[in-house]
């Protein structure tokens, strides 16, 4: 049932090199402190570290004890100072990953331990989660950049791109959309220029690179996911490629079974799994009527594989059951129907009352927020509901966050904004004022989803039933109701090899200044590499988008490689925007 790739689909580059690189670097850092040592790891780094170097590797390099750290600077300083008080002398090394910031040193200095510790950087910025998926494991990127305007991670992104281009050759064709995409791209170009000559003359392995800001397409990320992997992520949360649901425990989200269903619409999965179960049973059943020799063969060769498959199968069936139970309880169908109505823009009143009921029932604030944002963006209207006192005052701040990030849009341009704008313009020169006005207008961006949707034909016309088993287009990841905007943009640009003819869309996306193309004239790229496309999602991408592009790749004979700051979903977006009481 898994769709085979076209025979001419290009081979993916070997990303295990990145893992090896990170591991070697870590080992090098560990070996700089010879002898036995304890390792304190920040909680967020635990799972990525586990994928790079397991405990036995750490032990090999004389890591004695491993500790998990919740609050970094406070701990290291209390540790060092406690040792000082007790008169113990030890060596301390703080390893910052992916990079050390000036502020880090400042904190150490303030804690009075700057001189006691040595610092190092572990430039571990790219974690291959899959053969075609690289994650920077920077979930904070989304809030830091899109809400707080903190650009520090952009440099990290540029460094990561630089690493990729040194390892896999230059990218002959570059496209991008979004303010952050442009900045990251320019920074990266600077890096390349500084280290001129290293990548020159290398044959490019990856023909295209496409950078995309998350805020270009919030809608897709806000939708409930119905592709299996996305659904599992929505329900149980996949972290670092491992599922942290109660059911799957920490089982690795890989294996044959999973590869076959991950990109499938959920409605197909159960049927597939039961078919698989039947096959498995049949294979078990072959035992009957075997003679001793055959039996021996069977036990020694096939049984282990079958058992493994059996175990995975039962895991996934369990997951499916659990998902079904959850989804039916809250009337998942109803929810999906409402979402589709919002995307298509009909029955708005019904949808609005559904959302109101959702709020009235106080099912989950995060879900309610998500639906409100979806309503607000798709309808380009203000979905102001008096939610705050009903959920707690901190959500008043959440609202203002959502508005600032452009997840909640306003009908009328905010007065406050224009007031500030005019005030600032008075203070600075005309040119700068122009820039600032741009910045503000992009801040106060209004969503033009409906118009964009029409231009890009995001809502496929359905004649009769959409057969989810045989997808026709990328819309299958949303039950045939909606083609993810982000993926459609990528498709269109790749088709045209530029933004030509998409001016109107770009304008509607408020990205007129931030859509760029950059082609090198050199024609060294092989036709195979030209069908390899690196898509960079700044602010996170969802499994649905990955599935959709994988589908597109199969249709057109491309292979997509995904580089994302983190894998995200609607709940993570909302949580990132929420103010939480400490």
């Amino acid at each position: 049932m898994a769709f085979p790739h076209r025979p001419d689909a290009p081979e993916l580059p070997d990303f295990s090199m990145l893992k090896r690189l990170a591991r070697d670097q870590l080992i090098y850092l560990l070996e700089q402190l010879p002898g036995k040592k304890d390792l304190f790891i920040e909680a967020d780094l635990m799972s990525p570290l586990d994928r790079i170097a397991n405990v036995s590797i750490l032990k090999q390099h004389e890591v004695d004890k491993l500790y998990k750290v919740e609050n970094k600077p406070a701990l290291s300083s209390s540790l060092v100072n406690a040792d000082k008080l007790a008169g113990r002398t030890r060596k301390y090394k703080v390893i910052f990953s992916p990079q050390k910031f000036y502020a880090c040193e400042m904190v150490l200095e303030e804690e009075g331990i700057y001189g006691d510790v040595s610092c190092d950087e572990w430039a571990f910025s790219l974690l291959p989660l899959d053969v075609d998926l690289l994650s920077m494991e920077l979930p904070e990127f989304f809030r830091d950049y899109f809400l707080e305007g903190d650009q520090r991670w952009i440099n990290t992104v540029a460094q990561a791109l630089h690493l990729l281009s040194t390892l896999y050759g230059p990218f002959p064709n570059c496209y991008g959309i979004g303010r952050c995409a442009k900045m990251a791209y320019e920074l990266w170009r600077n890096l390349e220029e500084e280290e001129d000559g290293e990548t020159k003359g290398r044959r490019p392995e990856i023909g295209h690179i496409f950078l995309l800001d998350r805020d270009v397409d919030f809608v897709t990320a806000l939708c409930s996911q119905v592709v299996y992997e996305g659904l599992v992520d929505d329900t149980f949360r996949i972290k670092c490629g491992k599922c942290h649901g109660p059911l799957l425990g920490t089982s690795h989200m890989a294996g044959l079974v999973f590869n076959e269903i991950r990109n499938e619409h959920f409605s197909n999965v159960f049927g597939f799994l039961s078919q698989k179960a039947r096959n498995l049973q049949a294979q078990y059943d072959r035992r009957r009527g075997m003679d001793i020799k055959q039996m021996k063969n069977f036990v020694s060769q096939e049984l282990k594989g079958l058992k493994q498959e059996h175990r995975l199968l039962s895991l996934h069936i369990g997951a499916c059951e659990s998902i079904m139970k959850k989804k039916t309880k809250q009337d998942f169908q109803e929810l999906i129907k409402t979402e589709h109505a919002l995307l298509e823009g009909f029955n708005i009143r019904e949808s609005t009352s559904y959302i109101e009921e959702h709020i009235d029932r106080q099912v989950s604030p995060i879900e309610s927020l998500r639906l409100m944002c979806l309503l607000s963006i798709t309808e380009n209207g203000d979905a102001r509901c008096s939610l705050d006192t009903h959920y707690g005052p901190e959500h008043l701040l959440t609202f203002s966050n959502l508005r600032r990030a452009g997840l909640l849009t306003e009908q009328a341009p905010g007065d406050t904004l224009t007031a500030v704008e005019s005030k600032v313009s008075k203070l600075v020169t005309d040119k700068a004022a122009g820039k600032i006005t741009d910045a503000f207008s992009s801040l106060a961006k209004r969503s033009n989803f409906r118009a964009i949707s029409k231009k890009l034909n995001l809502i496929p016309r359905v004649d009769g039933e959409y057969d989810l088993k045989v997808p026709r287009d990328m819309a299958y990841v949303f039950s045939g109701a909606y083609v993810p905007l982000s993926c459609r943009i990528i498709e269109q640009v790749l088709e045209r090899r530029s933004w030509q003819g998409l001016d109107e869309v770009v304008r509607l996306l408020n990205c007129s200044d931030f859509a760029f193309t950059d082609m090198t004239k050199e024609d060294k790229a092989s036709s195979e590499s030209l069908r390899l496309i690196l898509v960079v999602f700044l602010g996170g991408c969802t499994f649905s988008e990955i599935s959709a592009l994988r589908f597109l790749g199969r249709e057109k004979g491309y292979r997509f490689i995904f580089l994302t700051t983190a894998v995200t979903n609607s709940a993570r977006l909302m949580e990132a925007m929420s103010e939480v009481k400490a």
Partner: protein, 868 residues
């Protein structure tokens, strides 16, 4: 050619020594050398002369003068001018033309205390040890670098004598104080003073002493009367050289070889002992029968040679002694000075500069009279060939018959390296090249490299450059160090030509030299900033490996801030520009550069710098024009300085953010309820100012809620504070306070629908079915009755659910009936409604045999409907 070996002097049977002239000195000395303090650096280094050293008999009014010359006697100051206006052709011609005017450069006047000793460090810095223990360090061009002191003890007891010596760590200074104690530092670059132990019973100054370096530790060897003492860090031990002839009552001179491996001692009996520096082995001895103390004694030997010889100089006599009964004697016409080198001795006087060394093996083989060595034959063959004589063939055959042609070529190449005269080098190389023609596979490397090396050597040996390096010295020194020394002498064009000639990688070669040149260029105060910046950029362009920020830093160091800023413009890496700009207090420029770079870390660095540098108002104003920096600073304040954040918003009249700020404070910072309410009040005011009525109202509601929750806690007990309104009402209902709950709902105008959902859920949770029923009948439900059915079913109370199912409106009836599991009735209703969607919904709920009849019924109804 016959007389080629005329200046060869045999010492014993196996070795020849030769002395040849390097330069005729052109320095026009007015004084005798003996009237000066002299220091000459090894490896053909510069010569420092301190004229009029402090002599008791001289009048104090005569100031001593320090002169520094190259090995060829050129005043080094002349070199300074030769490149100062940057002739980018060869600057060499200019040297000679402007030479005369340079003679009149005002000499360095010594203004400090009396100098006891001079010496050159390995970096060619001149160390002047003063009587008070202060050591002044000068550059090659007489520019003062720094000074350091050899300690209090030395200051008190004054310096009696001092030596500068070289170790693998750098250059060391050893001092003998007036109290006859030794203090030394093994490396002046990393000054660590070491006071050596006392020599027991030492009453007067030792007759001679030297610093030794063994096993990476510096020692002092001194002679007192007939005794020798070795001082190390810990102890003073008496030592005796093995095999020393009897009758010695005093040692007059001692000499350590260039590599510290050998030691020579000259006694008052005119006897010379030569042995290892460890004093464990004697090599040879010699009795010269001259009792007068020699002026200088130095070792003269070359690496990998078995011959050991010592050169001893008296006023008018020079003697080379070794393991032979006879010595070689030279007459000195003038007052001369010896400089020990790695492979020989340089001897300079007022008029000449000579080199005395053991003739290298290859040269000896080739040029020895009547030599039949293959190299000698090859040289002969080549000469005959040039004469077009058939003898050439004979010689060649002779070599080839012996199978020694390869060896012959190698010999010629090697010998060429040791020749000083280009003519001789050429003829040897020509011979080698000639011989190579008759060899099949002779690797060309050695020949090519020798040609290149000789070309470089001849260039630096030139009179104008004055670095008389021998081949062995050059190899020991390495090309990198040689380039450094050329740069140090400001011979940039020559250095660059050498780099280009040897095709050294740009980063190590040309770029580095250009960077040095630029650093020197910025020191020229008489050229305008624009011109300097332009000149530097023209020359350097985008040469890889050149750091404009380093050059700018140098310019800033010379006090040329504007020039530094201009130079920084050429620096492509912002990360390199910013720190210097900060250092120059151009923080605002630094800020915009940092922002341009897109490196937030850099921006952050500048921000914190600015914050300390500017007053608050200016700082905020600066931020205003830089949105990116502002947002970064806000981030910082959020974590570190909340109060500043408030001020920032206040300044911008950003009431919206101020409101948010106070909201956050209301639950994060304030503990007491009064404080929290006050914070909320401030927030509400701010929101009003921001014209955000919605937020203001919501905030006011929150204030009311807080107060009310407080009252509830006081009156009812339990936990109410910080619950949301919804949870507060729910808690009240769960606690049975229905009246209060309703009051609250009215007060806060909770929409009816929401209240009904809330009550319904709460009562069902309580399983208070009676109250629920009462509630359901209190008035017509604004949310219909389907939710009642749902919630009851959630609590698994089918009985109650059915009650409400009957009350559900017709459009939701089917759903309700299906929820309570009454498929049959649901089917009836759906058929009655003739609603296709409902029918299929019911059908999908028909499972197994039990609902078979119902399913059939629906199918029939459908069929009927279609017929119609």
């Amino acid at each position: 050619m016959d007389c080629y070996t005329a200046n060869w002097n045999p010492l014993g049977d196996s070795a020849f020594y030769r002395k040849y002239e390097l330069y005729s000195m052109d320095w026009d000395l007015k004084e005798e050398l003996r009237d000066c303090l002299v220091a000459a650096a090894p490896y053909g280094g510069p010569i420092a002369l301190l004229r009029n050293p402090w002599r008791k008999e001289k009048a104090a009014s005569v100031r001593p003068v320090l002169d520094i010359y190259s090995a060829s006697g050129m005043p080094l100051a002349s070199l300074l001018v030769s490149t100062s206006d940057g002739p980018w052709g060869l600057g060499l011609d200019r040297v000679s033309s402007s030479e005369d005017s340079l003679r009149n450069l005002s000499p360095l006047q010594w203004k400090s205390g009396p100098v006891v000793s001079l010496g050159w460090s390995a970096e060619e810095e001149l160390l002047c040890v003063q009587e008070d223990g202060a050591v002044l360090v000068y550059g090659l061009h007489g520019d003062f670098r720094r000074h350091f002191s050899m300690g209090n003890e030395v200051l008190q007891n004054r310096v009696l004598d001092a030596r500068i010596f070289h170790t693998e760590f750098g250059s060391g200074v050893a001092i003998l104080t007036g109290a006859h104690r030794f203090t030394l530092s093994a490396n002046v670059g990393d000054l660590k003073l070491r006071r050596m132990p006392e020599v027991p019973g030492l009453q007067s100054a030792p007759s001679c002493w030297t610093a030794l370096c063994q096993d990476r530790v510096a020692h002092v060897l001194l002679a007192v009367g007939p005794d020798l003492y070795l001082l190390d860090h810990a102890a003073c031990s008496a030592v005796t050289p093995p095999g020393l002839a009897p009758g010695v009552s005093s040692f007059l001179q001692m000499a350590v070889s260039f590599t510290y491996r050998h030691l020579a001692l000259f006694t008052d009996t005119g006897y010379i002992w030569m042995g290892t520096a460890s004093l464990k082995e004697k090599l040879c001895e010699f009795n010269c029968n001259i009792r007068a103390p020699p002026k200088q004694m130095v070792w003269c030997s070359r690496p990998r040679s078995k011959e050991r010889a010592v050169v001893v100089a008296w006023e008018r006599r020079l003697m080379v002694v070794g393991d032979a009964s006879e010595s070689i004697q030279f007459v000195l016409d003038e007052d001369s000075y010896l400089v020990p080198e790695l492979d020989g001795v340089r001897i300079f006087s007022r008029s000449t500069h000579e080199f005395l060394h053991e003739v290298p093996a290859a040269s000896e083989e080739i040029f020895k009279i009547a030599s039949m060595a293959p190299g000698a034959l090859l040289l002969e063959a080549q000469k005959e060939y040039e004469k077009e004589s058939q003898k050439a063939d004979e010689y060649l055959r002779e070599i080839q018959e012996l199978g020694q042609l390869t060896q012959a070529v190698q010999q010629c190449i090697e010998a060429a390296g040791h020749e000083h005269q280009p003519d001789m080098q050429k003829s040897l190389l020509r011979a080698a090249s000639f011989g190579k023609c008759f060899l099949d596979r002779f690797p060309p490397n050695s020949f090519v490299h020798m040609c290149q090396d000789l070309r470089v050597l001849n260039a630096v040996r030139d009179y104008h450059i004055g670095i008389p390096l021998t081949y062995s010295q050059y190899k020991q020194l390495t090309i990198q160090v040689l380039l450094d020394r050329l740069v140090l002498r400001r011979l940039y064009p020559l250095a660059i030509q050498i780099c280009e000639y040897l095709r050294l990688p740009e980063v190590q070669g040309v770029s580095r030299i250009l960077a040095h040149w630029a650093c020197y260029k910025v020191q020229q105060k008489d050229v305008s900033d624009e011109d300097v910046a332009r000149a530097i950029n023209q020359k350097l362009g985008d040469t890889p490996g050149v750091s404009y920020s380093d050059i700018a830093a140098r310019a800033y160091g010379c006090g040329r801030t504007e020039l530094a800023i201009k130079l920084l413009e050429y620096e492509p890496r912002s990360g390199e520009q910013v720190p210097l700009l900060l250092k120059m207090k151009r923080s605002k420029l630094a800020l915009s550069k940092a922002i341009e770079s897109g490196d937030t870390d850099l921006v952050f660095t500048v921000l914190l710098h600015l914050k300390n540098e500017l007053n608050r108002g200016d700082f905020f104003m600066t931020l205003r024009n830089q949105p990116m920096a502002l947002s970064l600073y806000r981030q910082f304040c959020k974590h570190q300085e909340l109060e500043t954040l408030k001020d920032l918003y206040n300044q911008d009249d950003n009431h919206q953010e101020l409101g948010s700020f106070h909201i956050r404070a209301s639950y994060a910072a304030e503990e007491r309820i009064e404080g929290r309410v006050a914070a909320l009040q401030t927030a509400a005011d701010a929101f009003y100012k921001a014209k955000n009525e919605f937020a203001a109202k919501a905030t006011e509601d929150q204030m009311r809620l807080l107060r009310l929750q407080r009252r509830l806690e006081d009156e009812l007990g339990g936990q109410f504070l910080d619950l949301s309104l919804h949870d507060t009402v729910t808690t009240l209902i769960l606690g049975g306070h229905n009246k209060r709950a309703e009051q609250l709902a009215r007060d806060f105008r909770i929409p009816d629908k929401r209240l009904w959902w809330l009550k319904l859920t709460a009562l069902a949770d309580l399983e208070d079915w009676e109250e629920l029923e009462k509630f359901s009948k209190s008035k017509k439900s604004p949310i219909g009755y389907l939710p009642f059915v749902e919630i009851c079913m959630k609590q698994h109370n089918k009985y109650e659910a059915k009650k409400y199912a009957s009350r559900v409106g017709p459009e939701q009836k089917v759903k309700a009936l299906l929820l309570v599991g009454d498929v049959a009735q649901a089917a009836d209703v759906a058929i009655e409604h003739r609603n296709e969607a409902e029918l299929s919904l019911v059908l999908s709920h028909c499972t197994g045999a039990t609902d078979g009849a119902t399913a059939d019924k629906i199918q029939r109804a459908r069929a009927q409907a279609q017929k119609k």
